[in-house]
């Protein structure tokens, strides 16, 4: 039988771990932790930090600027997940939502397949799908590209901003002053990568790692297991989300990703350029690559007052940012972390614990 929340909390409070800083790297975890008020229940020596787990938040402002420019092109329908709609570029307030109000054709999709439907229904228009996300959304994006190729669809393309988790975690751990004692690994990404995908954490970095689910009790259990590993001094990968994550993950989904995309150097907000961390469309699918189809230009690093970069690398809690709750609020966001439904700042602001 699963231990109760009470039992878990009591063990969490009693484990002799000293100061333990644990990082979650999944926006859904970030939100679930805040929504259940978990921080208010943990002892002072256990802190939960948000890592680069919100796909919208790790997308740099200069890329958003380029997206906004493309949205204004005549004949283009921009299809995107809802999260991206309110994210500002380097100018606060300038977002796809604003561009839509100014006449851009921006559609909110639940899946890349919706974008394919839009392309079929609008043969005279160019439909560009914004492929944002990690290994979880990459297979669906791949499926849309493969399907478009099979049907010979000419007016559909993907702007891939897809990223992979492992290179980012390696970059993060290599940063000066990185101070985290364990990772709460992303349950959704793990359904694709499996336990294998996180072995490098304990084996190469001596870092405890627990794959966790998204119910409050799942998160408490994962926290408890991480603390047990820290107390016991034997780091390993534990899978607490066995109802969804198989040890080997989903090889078919990984094959679809590999067929469609190739790793490339990519730019992350807060982390900078990371080799092999992005997924670009392979040459044979160049016809569906929006970056090639349109001459999109991403200009140099955008100047933004936002400190999301420090927040998503665990260097600052959201309230530490001078803009938090003052100039930057969910209704007038300056940075992506305040607007994305998975963003750390949005979670802190919305569910401030007392």
């Amino acid at each position: 039988m699963k231990p109760s929340a009470e039992q878990l909390l009591s063990e969490i409070r009693s484990l002799p771990v000293g100061q333990a800083r644990l990082m979650e790297v999944c926006g859904t975890h970030t939100m679930a932790i805040a929504e259940a008020g978990i921080r208010s229940l943990l002892p002072e020596n256990v802190r939960l930090l948000s890592g680069p787990g919100c796909p919208v938040c790790v997308t740099p402002a200069e890329l958003i600027d380029a997206v906004l420019a493309l949205a204004m092109e005549k004949n283009v329908i921009l299809a995107s997940y809802g999260d991206m709609i309110r994210v500002p570029g380097s100018t606060p307030g300038d977002s796809l939502q604003r561009r839509r109000a100014l006449g851009a054709d921006v559609r909110v999709c639940y899946s890349p397949m919706d974008a394919l439907d839009i392309a079929r229904a609008n043969p005279a228009k160019e439909v560009v799908f914004l492929g944002v996300g990690f290994e979880t959304t990459a297979p669906g994006t791949a499926a849309a590209v493969l399907s478009a190729a099979a049907r010979g669809l000419k007016n559909f393309s993907v702007w891939s901003m897809l990223k992979t988790v492992e290179p980012a975690l390696r970059a993060l751990m290599g940063m000066e002053g990185f101070n985290v004692q364990g990772f709460l690994c992303p349950g959704h990404v793990a359904t694709i990568l499996g336990e294998e995908g996180f072995r490098f954490l304990p084996e190469e970095y001596g870092m405890p790692a627990v794959i966790g689910g998204f119910e409050p009790e799942d998160i408490l259990l994962a926290v408890c297991k991480l603390l047990r590993q820290i107390a016991g001094g034997a780091p390993k990968v534990e899978n607490e989300y066995i109802r969804a994550v198989r040890p080997e993950g989903n090889p078919l989904a990984r094959a679809a990703i590999a067929r469609c995309f190739a790793p490339r150097t990519d730019l992350w907000r807060g982390l900078g350029e990371i080799p092999q961390s992005g997924l670009g469309l392979r040459e044979e699918y160049a016809a569906f690559d929006a970056e090639k189809k349109f001459s999109v230009t991403v200009s140099g690093p955008a100047q933004t007052p936002c400190r999301c970069g420090e927040v998503i690398t665990g260097r600052m809690d959201p309230p530490g940012c001078p803009l938090f709750g003052r100039r930057c609020t969910p209704e007038d966001p300056v940075g992506p972390c305040m607007v994305s439904s998975e963003g750390a700042c949005a979670a802190w602001y919305k569910y401030q614990t007392l």
Binding site: R39, S40, G82, R86, L102, P216, E331, E342, T353
Partner: protein, 329 residues
């Protein structure tokens, strides 16, 4: 950058409030308007108006016509009025099938009969294709004020916060119908609330305020009760009635039931010793079967709505910031 209107201003949350309070009310200021209640109290009359732009115009559990009647009826009823007469203005996009319009009008008639009101004046306009979305309806209504004095200003510490039934049904049903993604049993709760209001106000209870939590949902309405005051509200997550199908659909769509619109539910704040009596009155009526106490008014958190989570944690429940958007995963 020029300031422009975006969809967020229509969400019923903070941006809508800002638009009304900063741009509209100061210019048009008068005592009845400045009170910013659901309806204007004009002596022994209450006057209210509402516009309906729902997409799709037919959805499980209702349609734009039923919604247009119930919306205005409910705004009057929660002010303590007996709804009597409505106006109806139709803005029709060219190309709307006549059969659909006929269905909507028939639905308005049925809703009027249910609510005991008559549509006594109206207007029709037709706009070019692409300049509207099938059909927009505005209704205005007047009612006789029978129970004066309902106001958030009468709320006291210790009062009970009641909800007449499950939360988030309408918003979720419409989102699902719009996305075309899922077939469920889920229906909008769209219904007139005049009977429930009468029953509550006739129960011999000290009723402080009634409100129908439409756009912005329960979270936004409760915040409006206490913002800027010395009182707060503490909700008990486990006590809030939410249908499992609504919970599941919201989790999938990235929405939250407490921020989803309701069109046939009301929130009541009543004196603590009268809570059971009011709940019994609601439960005896259709649409009130799942009525529950969901929280209490507290002096401990001035101006804020708190949530005691199922785990025992506590967090703040904010007003809706902007339109709820579906998310990535």
């Amino acid at each position: 950058m020029e300031e422009i209107i975006t969809l967020d201003y229509g969400s019923g949350g903070k941006k809508t409030a800002r638009l009304i309070e900063q741009r509209i009310v100061p210019a048009l200021s008068n005592p009845a308007l400045n009170a910013l209640t659901d309806g204007a109290i004009l002596g022994d009359l209450v006057f209210s108006t509402d516009s309906f732009v729902v997409d799709p115009i037919f959805f499980p559990g209702g349609d734009i016509g039923k919604l247009a009647v119930c919306g205005t009826v409910n705004d009057l009823a929660v002010c303590g009025a007996v709804p009597q007469y409505l106006s109806c203005a139709l803005i029709i996009e060219e190309g709307l099938p006549m059969a659909e319009l006929t269905r909507v009008i028939a639905s308005m008639k049925a809703a009027c009969e249910m609510a005991g009101v008559q549509i006594v004046t109206g207007d029709t306009k037709v706009v070019e294709r692409g300049r509207g979305d099938k059909l927009y309806i505005n209704t205005a209504g007047i009612g006789k004020l029978k129970y004066p004095g309902l106001s958030p200003q009468t709320i006291r510490a210790g009062d009970a916060v009641l909800c007449s039934g499950t939360v988030g049904d309408h918003g979720t049903a419409v989102m699902l119908a719009r996305s075309g993604m899922m077939q469920t049993e889920l229906q909008s709760d769209c219904a007139p609330l005049h009977r429930l209001c009468e029953a509550i106000l006739n129960a011999g209870a000290r009723v402080r305020v009634l409100r129908d939590p439409t756009r912005g949902g329960v979270a936004t309405t409760l915040n409006e009760f206490v913002e800027g005051t010395a009182l707060g509200i503490e909700l008990d997550e486990g006590a809030i009635p939410v249908r499992p199908a609504v919970k599941a659909a919201c989790a999938m769509l990235g929405l939250e039931p407490l921020y989803c619109a309701n069109e046939g539910k009301l929130l009541a704040v009543v004196a603590p010793e009268d809570a059971e009596r009011v709940l019994a009155a609601m439960r005896a009526l259709p649409g009130g079967e799942n009525a529950a106490q969901i929280g209490v008014v507290t002096a401990d958190a001035p101006g804020r709505v708190l949530m005691k989570t199922a785990l025992g944690g506590r967090r703040v429940l904010q007003k809706l910031a902007g339109a709820q958007l579906p998310r990535i995963c």
